[in-house]
């Protein structure tokens, strides 16, 4: 019984770490894209509007983080008890 539980927990732990890793990569992409030369393109206005890529990045990250949470909760609620 414990062996099955441990195996299920390992799967869950991998999922936890994967989601955490994705979040951290996205989080620190905010520094890389906004404050290094790698992201110079994102600081430009989009088309004819005044809205810059940086301004889009901020709400996008918030929405993506929330979407990741929804996905995480969905995966956890699907078909298993833990």
């Amino acid at each position: 019984m414990d062996k099955n539980k441990i195996e299920a927990i390992r799967l869950k732990t991998r999922r936890r770490l994967l989601f955490t890793g994705i979040t951290l990569v996205l989080y620190f992409s905010y520094v890389v894209l906004n404050y290094t030369s790698l992201g110079s393109f994102i600081r430009q206005p989009i088309g004819d509007s005044l809205i810059t890529g940086s301004l889009v990045l901020f709400p996008s990250l918030i929405v993506i983080f929330i979407a990741l949470e929804v996905l995480f909760l969905f995966l956890n609620s699907r078909g298993d008890s833990i």
Binding site: D2, K5, I6, A8, I9, K12, T13, R16, L17, F19, T20, T23, L24, Y27, F28, Y30, V31, V32, N34, Y35, T36, R43, Q44, P45, S49, L50, I51, T52, S54, L55, F58, P59, L61, I62, V63, F65, I66, L68, E69, V70, F72, L73, N76, S81, I82
Partner: protein, 576 residues
Amino acid sequence: MSPVEYFHQKINVFSRRTKMNSIASAIVSGLALVLFAGAVGAAGSIEGEIETQPLNPVAIIMFLIFVAATLGISYWASRRTQTSQDFYTAGGEITGLQNGTAIAGDFMSAASFLGITGLMYLGGYDALVLAIGAFAGWPIMLFLLAKRVRNLGSFTFTDVVSMRLDRKPIRLVAIMGTIVVVLLYLIAQMVGAGKLIQLLFGLPYEVAVISVSILVLAYVTFGGMLATTWVQIVKAVLLLIGVTITAFLVMVQAGFSFDTLLLAATENHPQGRAILAPGVLFDDPIQIATIMVSMLFGVLGLPHILMRLFTVPTMQEAKKSAFYASIFMGYFYLTLIIIGFGSIMVVYNNPDFFDSNGKLFGGTNMVAIHLASAVGGDLLTGFMSAVTFATILAVVSGLTVSGAAAISHDLYAEVLCDGKPDPKKELNLTRITTIVIGVIAVFLGILFQNENVAFIATMPMVVAASVNFPILFFSLFWQGLTTRGAILGALVGLVSSVVLIVIGPQVWVSVLGFEEALFPYNYPALFTMPLAMITTWFFSVSDKSARAVIDRSNYHELLIRSEYGPDDGELAVAKH
């Protein structure tokens, strides 16, 4: 010189300083504001002599209504607070939605509202780094900690970290981490609260500090976590209503066109279109990274936030708490984009908000209140001022509960009484501790009233990230952790955090008056957290003691309980 010219000049000077990489105080002020509700004293513009605002009767009436309502809540909560469990965790009867709102309220503070708006007014986009920093801890809280912490603990995060390790020494270390974070946080809160209330309501500083403490004691001593949570919920809802109305009224003025809003803002601001992208206030990626690491991992180690995971009945509700907190905070920070640029559009050229010397009334931290006044008149100004006061009360209440739990539960009940305290004595001690913390808060608030507390406001997040988070993370996710490794890692995290903050610009230069800082960054968690983790790892893997064998063997059962919950059977490891 016109008010606008004066401010343009001020901004230009500020920008030149920025380019010389001398923006530490602005960053510290902003971060302090964002993270420490009410810690406005940390912000340069509310340091020293306070220029009080004209008394706003609407604000006073709304404030009195809030106080009456929250005292009513405390009375109701006091009738339900009969045991220590009721006191620490509201009897575990808070729902995920309620708890998520309260958690969001801890971060979605009026100080975030004032601080981020003030920084956006100064430099536009750059201020949003503080919002993303405060927000991003919550997804990770959900992914990594919410369920496991909820399943393993009972009242505090110390319960979790002591479960598989040698209880007494690891509890003492975790209690030390909690007390350091709570006290430092409390100093920043009380000084900020005193100055902010002085500014908003025209009360003398000492009266403001004592008033905050008396109200908090009334909430916490009688109503415990239940009252604290409901006060936080009421405040969070009021703040959400306030920012929604303010943002809506700004968009009305901009004809519901975001482009028009940005155009008006760039035309008003001396930096023009530069405010729509990063680089006006901050331009050093390492400095930004240090702030972001401190904020993200600091959130994951704050004892009064982790404690909220135990106020819900199940781990499902704990996960919901983290999710709802994210939703509310995400919405709040999105509205701040409109409010921030709206403040530049509406307040920048408005002479109503500048004195005869061209100085903005109350400094830049009052920009959000001025914006509320410009778009919503006295009613909205009064509402937002009252919500600001409410924020301070709510956050200080949460800190007080957390500090009281560290002493009465973690130290008295678990260490001194070996986990078998007399419940009545424990509850009485909790209430006495609450009063003592309230008195200490007043004392510290008055003692530090003329000090630059910005450096104090930086410490709790850095200490939480460097001491509490590594122990918590390793105890949940690494079998190899031993008591020796955890204790040494925590001590190295604590000492290195304090030393690097002291030799950093905010203390070494701004407080101690030296020419140049020995360490270039204000928020050393980028360095101290990995140092603490490496120390923990090294002294754990090299630990060959008998205790280390027990610590490692305990992990298996802890892991099962952390995912399946306490109902899966009594955890044998807790007895070691």
